[in-house]
Subunit: 407 residues, 2 copies
């Protein structure tokens, strides 16, 4: 039970974070979780530019503190990322900090790289002591298992209540040649916009200076992980990190930033949508597409409020075209909203026209809402502002997962 | 099925809004709902000072527009309140406005009072045409049924997904004599702080000038209905109204304002807690008591964020003393929070001491969390700020109620 599930005879190949040249990864079981891989390692065969965004929660886990320190001390250079699942190492005081630092030290020692070039992340239960000795015992096995095929194992080892791994890849062609941006993520609960939610890791073999990488990541996060919400809660451990090792030989300079940022955004949007679709207990992805707002900021307020509404999320779960709840959520978003000018469509069925005209086939709307992706389109009819957010439906499963006893 | 459920031979008496002298009420079935009383009427035998607070949603129902107009035109004087359940008359355009105005006109005509002295409220499904002709047909029966014993019928007729009526009474003794403040409320979903949530109606036989009544109501709401949250959604129809008819002969002047405001606050806190306890699908009331904040505003931010956290609400449902979720919610409240100084107790069991020391009997904590009221006490250890809020647990029942098809 200690190894990730691989079907016998399955062909293994690079996925997600190991598609870019020069990266390898591993996922093993070290005993923090009972019967699920719980230790992931990502390594670059050379120094990589590194950038990361972290939770904005005032209560931050020990690994966040340590990873921030490393990024500062190394001036944005990293060689590896080590991640455990099953324990958040949050609210664990000085002992927790020491555990995170020891994890970094051991990883650095085994890989033969500077301690400042190892990022550390944790995810799992808050407030319990991390069994760091088990983690340290497992590290040599993780290092030994590092391989191009290990991307899938790493993607498995970072999961908590997730039901599936989340990996994606984009390829960019340039006149200098091609490069890859690939990523993996976990995240199912405690997910809310306005910060880098969940854990996400991206690798690229493009050469990108640390400052450029930071700027691109900040904008890409705004359009991806900061646009999803599962339950309105915000983790103490959120972190999205990118490593760019230049192994492709392609340099992302002033001219090529846009293509790189588009690829990075694409990878992060793929991962963010995968996280929303796999929200705790979710059966559907909900896309909320708001246009016609006074400006983009107003559109985002409305989209986020609709995404966050438990009444909208339960109505979608029930395949009920209850547009009144969508309109009511828009009304409390703190944005400029004129009820009489609103237009609402659900997966292509126009359920409300301006002036509160509502004539549509309930049957058709219901049929479309039974699909595994539901699109809520709201046109405020006031301007050119637009924003898209993603969430999932709210189900018995969410209650089951979160009302169950920790131990 | 058209009449409220009264046990045969039950002794009927004044409750809630009809305990104060000079008030009568009725609750009848007029056919907006299938088999539940759906039309409530409250009347004063003389002119009463009136004050009300309304939803801050940008999308407001027709009755809110009309009730606001009446209060303005009458300069804060009212004789009656008419309320229907089963249909919110929201997002219904000009036809909805006409329906609300017609309800007021008919009520005024039947009672022989000015149209500006009748307040109207609605609660139920958004976006469906109100069958105002049924309401108008039912009004003569409601007027004929007006009685002191009708308070309970009115409390029944305003309910939607509520599982029980919500009524309360406070008595105040003064040197001039005694007076009564009584109230009733409905509300189960779409309940969120920062406005007058749900429908609440309060009557008193004290004499209170309209301006004083408005000021007292505004402060009392801040400490009661603005401190509860069920699901973070905000209705288009929220309204809390108070009528003060002076029938007791006691005048609330500058000297007696405090006693009156305390009684009004007490009534509204009782009703607000009853609403939270009866939240959709709820099995428990959760009281969140935050102290030690830098100031009261910070304490309120933290209390509201904990109250609004689905992860906290599901943990309480599962009787799981998962203090990490409480600390994580506090951390994202936007308040000054030092994780290391926090102390957390759950229904008297101290689960976290400063410095992240956590040693307690899980068994004892679990036993206390199985009770029907759970108190989450958080001491931030930073100052003197304090705030209390109320919410309920999040259960399968919430999903069942809100994922079911409207029709």
């Amino acid at each position: 039970m200690s190894e990730p599930r691989i079907a016998p005879g399955a062909v293994r190949r690079a996925t997600g974070i190991t598609v870019a040249e020069g990266f390898s990864a591993a996922g093993v079981h070290c005993g923090i979780r009972k019967a699920h891989a719980d230790l992931a390692l990502i390594a670059s065969d050379r120094e990589a530019s590194a950038a990361a965004v972290f939770t904005r929660n005032r209560v931050v886990a020990a690994p966040i503190v340590v990873a921030r320190e490393c990024l500062e001390r190394s001036a944005g250079i990293a060689r590896a990322i080590v991640v455990n699942s099953g324990n958040a190492n949050a609210c664990t005081g000085p002992e927790g900090l020491a555990a995170a630092r020891r994890t970094v030290e051991e990883t650095a020692r085994l890989l033969g790289v500077p301690e400042t070039q190892v990022l550390v992340a944790s995810t799992g239960v808050i407030g319990q002591r991390l069994a760091v000795e088990r983690l340290v015992d497992g590290l040599p096995r993780a290092v030994a298992a590092l391989s191009i095929e290990g991307g899938a194992d790493a993607a498995e080892a970072i999961l908590t209540t997730d039901t599936r791994t989340k990996e994606t890849v984009r390829r960019v062609a340039t006149r200098q040649g091609g490069y890859v941006v690939g990523g993996m993520a976990k995240g199912s609960g405690m997910i809310h916009p306005d910060m880098a939610t969940t854990l996400g890791f991206v690798t690229t073999d493009a050469a990108v200076p640390p400052a450029t990488l930071r700027a691109c990541l900040r904008r890409a996060i705004e359009a991806s992980f900061n646009r999803i919400s599962v339950d309105g809660d915000t983790s103490t451990n959120d972190m999205v990190a990118v490593l760019a090792n230049g192994a492709s030989g392609v340099e992302v300079d002033a001219g090529g930033t846009e293509a790189f940022e588009n690829a990075l955004t694409g990878v992060l949007v793929d991962l963010a949508k995968a996280v929303a679709r796999d929200g705790e207990g979710a059966t559907k992805l909900i896309e909320v597409d708001v246009r016609g707002a006074r400006d983009d900021a107003d559109a985002l307020r409305v989209a986020r409020t609709i995404s966050g509404s438990p009444l909208v999320k339960t109505a979608v779960h029930g395949a009920d075209a209850n547009w009144g709840r969508i309109v009511a959520a828009a009304g409390r978003a703190g944005a400029e909203v004129e009820p009489e000018t609103m237009r609402v469509a659900i997966s292509g069925v126009e359920v409300l026209r301006p002036g509160f005209v509502s004539q549509f086939s309930e049957e058709e709307a219901r049929a479309r809402m039974l699909r595994d992706t539901v699109v809520l389109e709201v046109d405020l009819g006031l301007g050119e502002g637009r924003a898209v957010t993603w969430t999932c439906d709210l189900t018995h499963g969410y209650v089951d997962i979160n009302a169950s006893y920790r131990t």
